[in-house]
Structures are given as structure tokens and as C-alpha cells.
């Protein structure tokens, strides 16, 4: 089944065509540069960009796959979880296309999309497994019982991991987004230089918290002349604390859920140190590790199309009253 996916939940305008697990096209118009000068994503700026480029992005997804709009058999769109003004543009486009083309429509939860980016990358990942979805907008541990069946095990209590990277990078004058630049600098730094706190170590839960860690970094160097600081060492030490927090909670969740397979997905899954430490720990603990391929880690629409195909295969679809819900729980239906 040829599914057109549309994703506009944050700062990427994306459209993709996926047929039976094969990605025929995956177009992402990133707004990164647009938001860099503001030090973060500005919702109204993002929504304006979505409406400006959505048509071109969909047209490009069709063109680069060599398909016509009439070839599309179903339309999947991220309708839940994200910035409301941004979600609205994608859902409006998807509904108009579904109505005009008389094709089934399905609304996807953004986190479910990321879980499917992992499944697209690793079609043979065992079920059930535990999936860590980690980006600038979310940090969640999900028990994936089977396709489209989820149970949220843990969640961030404050910031998302990627947000902490952004805030620390901003404090150190490294620009936006923070993830890639901290990853790069950390590679040359000493990760034992500073001993930043490991959050929620004795909480007994598999939740996350990054706000205190970020504040610890800021408080440690507040008032210092940034240009004199060993930025690489700070980046490496901060990153080490984030990575250890993510890995230890994920491994703990997998053990508790008694599953051997772990998936890691979302923008922060691109972090090289996270990949290294996860590989190490999973080898020690005898877990199978499945990372999302790097080109599907960030927000994209191939993952939305894949999730849509799975929902439709389960006989689920949305009606044309589909709306956008910014903070819906993951378990809700399509």
C-alpha cells in the first residue's frame, strides 16, 4: 500500500512516500537556520514556514518517488503531540487531500512515528521491546508490546534531553541546536573533568529529569568569562551525565519489563556517545540493541507513513473531523 506521510509537529516540514516498508521518498524541509537566531523554535515562526512550504514538500515527495498524487492509496499525518499551530497545517493539508482524492486518512501520534522510524530501520526488531524516544521535544520509555500497542514506562519530569543540550549550548555560547555541537566538542574533551549530578538515581522509577543537570552546569560557571572556560571538557562531562542517565534508565526498564531488545530513536539518538555507551552496556547486560538509522532519527514523514500503514492494516482510520491535539497520551487510538 502506497502511503503519503505528512509531519509538521515542530520545526520540520516533511512529506514521504512509503510502500510496504520501503521508503520511496523522504523529504524534510528543515527550519533550523530560521530558528537559530532565536536560540530555539518559535512556534509562530515555525507555523508560518509550514504553510509556506508544505505544498512544495508534498510535491517533491511525489516527484522524487516518481509517483502521481492519484497513486497514493492512503494519507497519514501527525495529528497528536507537538506545537498546536504547527500540527494544524499538516492536518489541514492531509484532510484536504484525503477528501479530494477520496483516500483513507489516519492520524498518528508523533511518538508513535519515532517508534516506527526504529521499526523501519530494524524491521526484525523483536516484539515486545523497550523503546527510548529521545529528542528536543520528548524523552520517553515505551514498552512496545506489538505493532501499535504501547505502554509508557517512563517520561521526563521536566525538560527533554535535547532541550538540555540546547540550553547548555546556549549558555556556553555555542548556538542552536545544541546537540550536534556538544557532541562534536565533547569528542575532544575530558568527560571526567567535572562530576555533574546523575539525576533520579535512587528514584526507583524509570522517569527522566534534565532540568537540575542543566542548572548544575549553569550554576557551576555562572559569572565566568565563557571564553576562558574549557568548553570541550564541560561539554564532554555534561554529555556523559545525560548519556548515563538515558542508558541506565533504559536498561533498567528493559530488565523490569523482562525484554531483551532495546530500541533507541529520536533526534538525540544521533549522539555518538549515546550510541557508544548503549552498545557497551547492552553487550554487558546481554540486551539486543536497535538504533534508528541516522537519517530517520530527526523528525520525518517516512516514520509517519509507516505508522499509518500499520494502523490501517489494523483496520483503524480517522474520519474527516480529525483535529490536532498538542498533548495527547501515546496510547490513544488513531
Amino acid at each position: 500500500m502506497l502511503v503519503l506521510g505528512i509531519e509538521t509537529s515542530c520545526d520540520e516540514t516533511a512529506a514521504a512516500l512509503v510502500a510496504d516498508g520501503h521508503i520511496l521518498s523522504n523529504v524534510v524541509a528543515s527550519q533550523m537556520d530560521l530558528h537559530a537566531s532565536f536560540g530555539g523554535v518559535v512556534p509562530e515562526v515555525a507555523a508560518r514556514k509550514h504553510v509556506e512550504v508544505i505544498g512544495y514538500v508534498i510535491n517533491e515527495a511525489l516527484g522524487s518517488a516518481g509517483k502521481a498524487l492519484e497513486d497514493v492509496e492512503a494519507i497519514a499525518v501527525t495529528s497528536r503531540y507537538g506545537l498546536i499551530g504547527c500540527l494544524v497545517v499538516g492536518v489541514a493539508a492531509a484532510k484536504a487531500l484525503a477528501y479530494t482524492l477520496k483516500r483513507p486518512l489516519v492520524g498518528i501520534h508523533h511518538i508513535e512515528g519515532h517508534i516506527f522510524a526504529n521499526i523501519l530501520s530494524n524491521p526484525h526488531i523483536p516484539m515486545p521491546h523497550v523503546c527510548l524516544t529521545v529528542s528536543g521535544g520528548h524523552t520517553m520509555l515505551v514498552y512496545v508490546k506489538d505493532l501499535c500497542q504501547y505502554e509508557v514506562l517512563g517520561n521526563t519530569l521536566d525538560d527533554a534531553a535535547g532541550e538540555a543540550f540546547d540550553k547548555v549550548a546556549k549558555f556556553l555560547g555555542l548556538g542552536f541546536p545544541g546537540g550536534p555541537v556538544i557532541d562534536r566538542l565533547a569528542a575532544q574533551g575530558d568527560r571526567t573533568a567535572y562530576n555533574f549530578p546523575r539525576p533520579l538515581r535512587r528514584s526507583g522509577t524509570v522517569d527522566f529529569s534534565f532540568s537540575g543537570l542543566k542548572t548544575a552546569v549553569v550554576n557551576r560557571f555562572k559569572g565566568s568569562d565563557i571564553s576562558t572556560l574549557p568548553v570541550s571538557d564541560i561539554a564532554a562531562s555534561f554529555q556523559e551525565a545525560v548519556v548515563e542517565h538515558l542508558v541506565s534508565k533504559t536498561v533498567q526498564a528493559a530488565s523490569r519489563a523482562d525484554v531483551s531488545a532495546i530500541g533507541v530513536t529520536g533526534g538525540v539518538a544521533m549522539n555518538s556517545r549515546l550510541r557508544e555507551v548503549f552498545a557497551e552496556r547492552c553487550r554487558q547486560e546481554g540486551h539486543q540493541l536497535f538504533f534508528t538509522r541516522t537519517d530517520l532519527c530527526g523528525d520525518n514523514a517516512a516514520m509517519v507513513a509507516a505508522a499509518g500503514a500499520a494502523r490501517l492494516a489494523h483496520g483503524e482510520s480517522a474520519d474527516l473531523y480529525l483535529s490536532a491535539v498538542p498533548n495527547a497520551p501515546l496510547e490513544s487510538a488513531a
Binding site: 509562530e44 508534498i58 494544524v88 492536518v91 489541514a92 493539508a93
Partner: protein, 228 residues
């Protein structure tokens, strides 16, 4: 020529359907509903009540604002995608122009008004010239008081925002201000008729590139510009 129009920039969503200059439908949505949820089924209801489908429509008109930023993006995105998927011509129409065109043969200055939130409005001035409504100068955005202070002659206000700010306007302008009676507005068909006029002049917009008319920058950009 059959034209379907959508304008979701105002408080209520408007959908119009015309056959030439003949109005077939003027749908006004419930103000308590969000534009996104009902827009497609409302369009479907307008078409099916007229015994038509989207395939029978010859062109699409879409209100480009100014107005609710999220609201206008719903209508414009739906219009763009319908035009893209059907290949039918698309015409963007200013929501202020469509309001002003409903003032009929007013002999005075016409001022169309859309609410911009927090005591602000978007406005346009018009005069009737040779049977058509002609825009005078640029659109404006700002506080109601600032706009009204510029008026020195009898003026007919059009638009639901004029009703919202009626007390302020009347206090400042007294007898100079007149208001179109609420319920007189036909934003859907007015948008469709202006789209038809544009199509007859050989004009249309590109379905991929059409964007809303915001008139105001997002706050962060305005602040950044001020800093520069």
C-alpha cells in the same frame, strides 16, 4: 463558472458557493468550533446541499487574512491542497476586501475591520467608485483608538470586529460612525465573488506558493528587528 470559497480568518468560518454571480450557499460556522475540525465536512455539506461535488467546481477562492493566524492557515492550506489535487485555479482574496465588498452602494467611506486580539484590529479603507469597491491606501494593524483617530468623515464599519469594538468607536466618532447590522455579512459568497472577478481578469495564484496575509510579525521577530 462555479466557485467554492473558504475564509477561516474571522471569528466564524465562512464557506461560499456561487454559480456566476448567483449565490448558491453562504455557510457561516459556529464561533465556538475550531476551524480545523469541521472545515472539510462543512465544505462537503455546502457542496452536497447544492447537489454538487468538488469535481463540479471550476475554481477555488480562499481568504488569505488578515485575521486569526492559526485560523487563516487552516483555510489557506485546505484551499491550496484542494487546488493542487484537482488542478483547479485558486484565487487568494483579502479577508478585508471581502468584508468591504458587502457594504453595497455605500456613499461614504467604508472601513472593514477584523479583530487582531488585545484591543487591536486589522483594517482597510474603501470607497465605491463606478460600481466597484476600491481600496484606499494600505491596510493597517494596531489599536482601535489609533485607527479611529484618523477618521474625519462619515464612515460605515463592516465586520464582526466593528461590533466587538462598537462602544470604543462610537465614543470617539459619535454620529460619524455607522455599522453594518450584524448578520448582514456574507463573507463566503463575497470571497467567492471577488475570486470570480480575479479569474475573469485572467488572474490566479499558485497553489504551492500562496501564503497568508498576516500584516503583523510574530512578537519575537518584531523585537529582534527593533534591536537591530
Amino acid at each position: 463558472m462555479m466557485i467554492l470559497s473558504i475564509d477561516t480568518a474571522g471569528r466564524s468560518d465562512a464557506i461560499g458557493l456561487i454559480d456566476g454571480r448567483r449565490v448558491l450557499a453562504d455557510f457561516v460556522g459556529d464561533v465556538t468550533h475550531n476551524s480545523l475540525q469541521g472545515i472539510i465536512m462543512n465544505i462537503d455539506a455546502v457542496l452536497s446541499n447544492a447537489g454538487l461535488t468538488l469535481a463540479d467546481v471550476d475554481g477555488l477562492g480562499v481568504g488569505i487574512g488578515p485575521g486569526s493566524w492559526t485560523g487563516v492557515r487552516v483555510g489557506i492550506t485546505v484551499g491550496k491542497m484542494m487546488a493542487y489535487a484537482t488542478g483547479k485555479p485558486l484565487c487568494g482574496v483579502s479577508s478585508l476586501d471581502a468584508l468591504a465588498s458587502q457594504a453595497g452602494d455605500a456613499s461614504t467611506l467604508i472601513c472593514s475591520v477584523v479583530d487582531a486580539g488585545r484591543g487591536n484590529i486589522y483594517a482597510g479603507f474603501y470607497r465605491r467608485r463606478g460600481g466597484v469597491t476600491v481600496k484606499q491606501g494600505q491596510y493597517t494593524a494596531g489599536p482601535v483608538e489609533g485607527l479611529v483617530a484618523r477618521i474625519r468623515e462619515p464612515v460605515l464599519f463592516v465586520g464582526d470586529a466593528a461590533q466587538v469594538h462598537r462602544q470604543t468607536i462610537s465614543a470617539l466618532l459619535g454620529d460619524l460612525a455607522r455599522f453594518m447590522k450584524a448578520g448582514e455579512e456574507r463573507q463566503g459568497s463575497a470571497t467567492a465573488l471577488l475570486a470570480l472577478s480575479r479569474l475573469e481578469r485572467g488572474e490566479s495564484d499558485d497553489a504551492l506558493s500562496l501564503v497568508p496575509l498576516y500584516l503583523k510579525e510574530p512578537l519575537v521577530q518584531a523585537l529582534a528587528a527593533r534591536k537591530r
